[in-house]
Subunit: 365 residues, 2 copies
């Protein structure tokens, strides 16, 4: 079968041939339909994040997948069932651990997990993959074509759950939300806040010129687009309003700190970006004081568990279908898979790039 793999640091993925995998007891064999591409893939390709399985010199990419059960192999799944795989698995040679037993592998510390397609385990960018049946979340046929969005949406489900938990010790009534980043995750999250979660006042920060398809989506959602070049994050409370929730999906390290300034009293910032090293000056005394005197909270969040995947599927069913259609800017067959990845040698500016979210199609539904 064909698979898309990368030698970390090679800078570009390539198509390789692999044998179709044999499901072990408790595992099902899944025929892959589509696999999404995101910024984490870029980091893995660049070699700045993740790593190959022990004893291997390349990694099959892909952690945002949807497939169809080809062989249930004695599990409770049925042949033909559409499924989305979760990402974390116990480390090689380990059957399980407390985090997996509790259904919370997303809370496992480094060393207590591998991530398929990211670190220590091959991903889903292959014509077939195997997975423990309890790591395959059923999805309906009508959502299956965009089932590769379940994983990114599940990331937001978790972050919002943890942010809300951080405000659960008092009667919190959030009304205003700022999403930092108008990439695919930021757009989907802004759409969730605006539609399925019912917030009236949602803002989304980016640094793109109009017209751009991502800004068109925000306009249509009645989400206020904020150009960070005109209104930096610390000025947002004065220009717009203080925010009860800030959701950061930029990986721009200054945003982690500026979020504190954008928050209203009793607000919470959920951080999801993974920046590289960068030292800079902060008004640390003022930020510390802001956190304390206004009861503010900051919550980091990574990965997601099966419950978040299930919530994400419910959320997708509630999102306007046009949002999902407009966010998915390209689905490419194996013969043109390279178009699904951003090209580091492309010197087009971000403004010229109308790509929002891409996926590779491994087989037709």
């Amino acid at each position: 079968m064909k698979a898309i793999a990368v030698e970390p640091g090679a800078g570009t993925p390539s198509l390789i041939d692999l044998p179709v995998p044999e499901p072990a007891p408790g595992e099902a064999l899944v025929r892959t339909l589509r696999v999404g591409v995101d910024g984490t893939d870029d980091e893995v390709i660049a070699g700045s994040h993740g790593g190959v399985p022990d004893g291997d010199d390349r990694l099959v990419l892909g952690h945002e997948a949807v497939g169809v059960v080809e062989d249930p192999n004695g599990t409770d799944l049925e042949e033909g069932q559409y499924v989305v795989p979760t990402v974390r698995r116990p480390p090689a040679g380990v059957e399980t651990n407390d985090y997996f037993e509790r259904g919370e592998p997303d809370m496992a510390p480094e060393g207590a997990y591998v991530e398929r397609g990211i670190v220590g385990a091959h991903g889903f960018m292959a014509e077939y993959f195997t997975s423990p049946a309890d790591c395959l979340v059923p999805i309906s046929a009508d959502l299956a074509p965009v089932g590769f969005l379940v994983e990114p949406i599940s990331i937001t489900e978790k972050a919002i759950e943890h942010a809300a938990a951080a405000r659960s010790a008092f009667d919190w009534q959030p009304e205003s939300v700022l999403v930092l980043g108008n990439g695919s995750l930021g757009l989907l999250t802004a759409a969730m806040f605006r539609t399925t979660m019912g917030y009236d006042r949602v803002y989304c920060l980016g640094r793109r010129d109009r017209p751009h398809p991502s800004i068109a989506i925000l306009d249509e959602l009645d989400v206020t687009y904020i150009d960070s070049r005109e209104t930096p994050v610390p000025e947002i409370p004065e220009v717009h309003e203080p925010m009860d929730v800030v959701y950061e999906a930029t990986g721009y390290a200054k945003h982690a700190f500026e979020s504190i300034e954008a928050l209203a009293p009793n607000g919470v910032a959920a951080l999801l970006g993974v920046p590289g090293d960068w030292s800079f000056e902060v008004e640390g005394g003022r930020l510390h004081r802001e956190l304390v005197l206004h009861n503010k909270a900051v919550v980091g969040s990574v990965n997601s568990n099966r419950d978040h995947f299930a919530s994400a599927i419910d959320t997708m069913a509630g999102l306007p279908s046009w949002v999902i259609e407009d966010v998915v800017s390209g689905v490419y067959g194996l013969e043109e898979y390279k178009r699904a990845f951003s090209d580091p040698t492309d010197d087009a500016t971000a403004d010229d790039d109308t790509t929002i979210k891409t996926a590779v199609e491994f087989s037709h539904i």
Copy 2:
């Protein structure tokens, strides 16, 4: 009656004469027993925090009080009942607002409250004070002599409640705790973690040489004292262990950021200090990444509500009595009230100063 008041910025409090206040309907008249002194009082005296009531040019100090009901004035309280007053009240001329109605004045934003003895309302350092009966929390006779510790302990009750809430979205099993600061609040909090909350591994950071009474208390509690001059906060995970909880009571702004490095995966830092302005460089990319990849949380917390006062009284009943006795280093009558306040003209070094917690006694129990 005698009262201790300050003209903000005057740098030193003074004894003044005031008429005994008349309780309004719904208020009781309380005879003041003892009122604690803390760092907030120092800031109010220095003029760097707080402010006088509208139309007044001085502020009666004191927000950590215990008293006895002198005149219930038709409220449900009984004459002779020992009580501890909460601190926040609705702003002048405002009967109530949503925060007070919900019993959560501690979550009110600036402008929606005054704080007795701190900002906008006279405090409890007077021979008598009046208070709405529902802002007076009953305390038993045996705890009344140290009832001025209820307010500071309630501050910790709230911070711990909010920190735990921030970890309530998953199965959190904290085992290690680091308290930053070995002043009276840090010591009481370390004692709470070690005794009433039952943590085996509690650490407390300070910058004092042995021998010092505060370190003796930690030793007796089997809390590990960490000298920050030998082991800065970022090195604590390596020298000791990563911490599931960090509780900051130093007001040292760098600690707000270094706390992130001291945390174990899934840990939470509760910030309580109120630093002045201070800009400095941080390894912002690494801190942001730490928060995200290890699901860490930071929660600021200020003030406390009636429920926290009630919890604090329960906690005090559970603390070893020697801890409270040793933390209270001095209770001074009105004739020597100045000894209860730190003397800004005293050039003794911190190492020479064996003061931990002081109070002024206004009348005998």
